[in-house]
């Protein structure tokens, strides 16, 4: 399995299917986690960064988080491949342009993408066509449970899951919906 195989098809969310797909293009939930025993990437040495990569890549491949998925070493990937991953919404621009040891685990149907060493050690994303936030949310939560059973995530009783940026602290979740609203644009309502 390689990126060439992905390029033959389009991701599930691009099929234009799913509930309310006439208005909602895609539903996305992302989750941020960090390993408790490593510093955040802002201060991590390159050895620590590689360590995070190794621990997470292993945990993903050993659990359902990595089911039917393959790992791409983003550090080694060509500029074209990185661009392709960004266009498919599988990695962020920040991740593509970054430096040092980093990667992404992508499920064959492109629904699930798990970035290693982006702003946080771990960024889990599930993306589906149409408006289906509940199923997307529960899939993200399953990945979190599978990995959380093996790994010690940085967590605080009061604040919740700890993230590099304090605005993400807590659940570490961000939910987004991409909607197509041409009439509102034409009439200058938004």
């Amino acid at each position: 399995m390689s990126l060439d195989t992905l390029a033959q098809n389009t991701g599930e969310w691009l099929h234009g299917s799913g509930p309310m797909s006439d208005v909602v293009l895609s539903s996305r939930v992302r989750l941020a986690r960090n390993l408790a025993e490593f510093p955040f990437l802002t201060t991590a040495s390159s050895e620590e960064r590689t360590g995070v990569y190794r621990v997470l890549a292993e945990a993903i491949s050993a659990t359902s988080a990595g089911a039917d998925a393959f790992l791409v070493d983003v550090e080694q990937a060509s500029t074209l491949d990185r661009q392709f991953l960004v266009e498919r919404h599988l990695i962020s621009r920040h991740h593509a342009a970054g430096e040092g040891s980093r990667g992404v685990s992508i499920s064959r149907n492109e629904r699930r993408a798990i970035m290693i060493n982006e702003e946080d050690h771990l960024r889990v994303q599930v993306l589906r066509g149409g408006l289906q936030l509940e199923s997307v949310g529960s899939e993200v939560s399953e990945v979190d449970d599978a990995l959380g059973a093996r790994l010690a995530f940085a967590f605080d009783r009061q604040l919740g899951y700890l993230t590099a940026c304090p605005t993400n602290v807590g659940t570490g979740i961000r939910v987004s919906v991409m909607a197509h609203l041409p009439a509102l644009r034409w009439t200058k309502e938004i």
Binding site: F40, D145, A149
Partner: protein, 165 residues
Amino acid sequence: MNALCQHCKQAKATVHITDVAERRERHLCEDCAEREGVIVKQSSQTTNAILQEFIKHKTGLAAVDDRTCPKCGITFREFRLKGLLGCPHDYEAFRPLLLPLIERAHHGATQHLGKVPSAADPALRKQAGLRRLRQQLQEAVDQENYEAAARLRDQLRQMESAEPA
């Protein structure tokens, strides 16, 4: 005006103060005026630097900025400039400074009510569950959904009376 300083009576008075409250005028030389704290003598410091010092002094940022996390070594200043923390322990080291920020970013909330790690100890999981139920109960009451509120209250009682898991 070519008068001498009223204070030292030696140097030329170049600082003229009109005190409106006390209705009096004073004429001082630069040195005496500085000693009395009336003026700050021009030095090599730029206006910007002086302003920054003033703001720091006023807000207490100077002391705050130099706070350092004993684990990863970043200072609060570095965090302010980058917007990113250095390690999980920073939340401990900078907690009082971060709380207002977190509160703003989370619409006033500073207590996590969501998931707890599946590897966490059972007592912690129970505590988190209780907090979540209380929050839901409050929401149900606020929405005047008394049926749901009654159900949540019973659940809470049951959970509270249960042996610590």
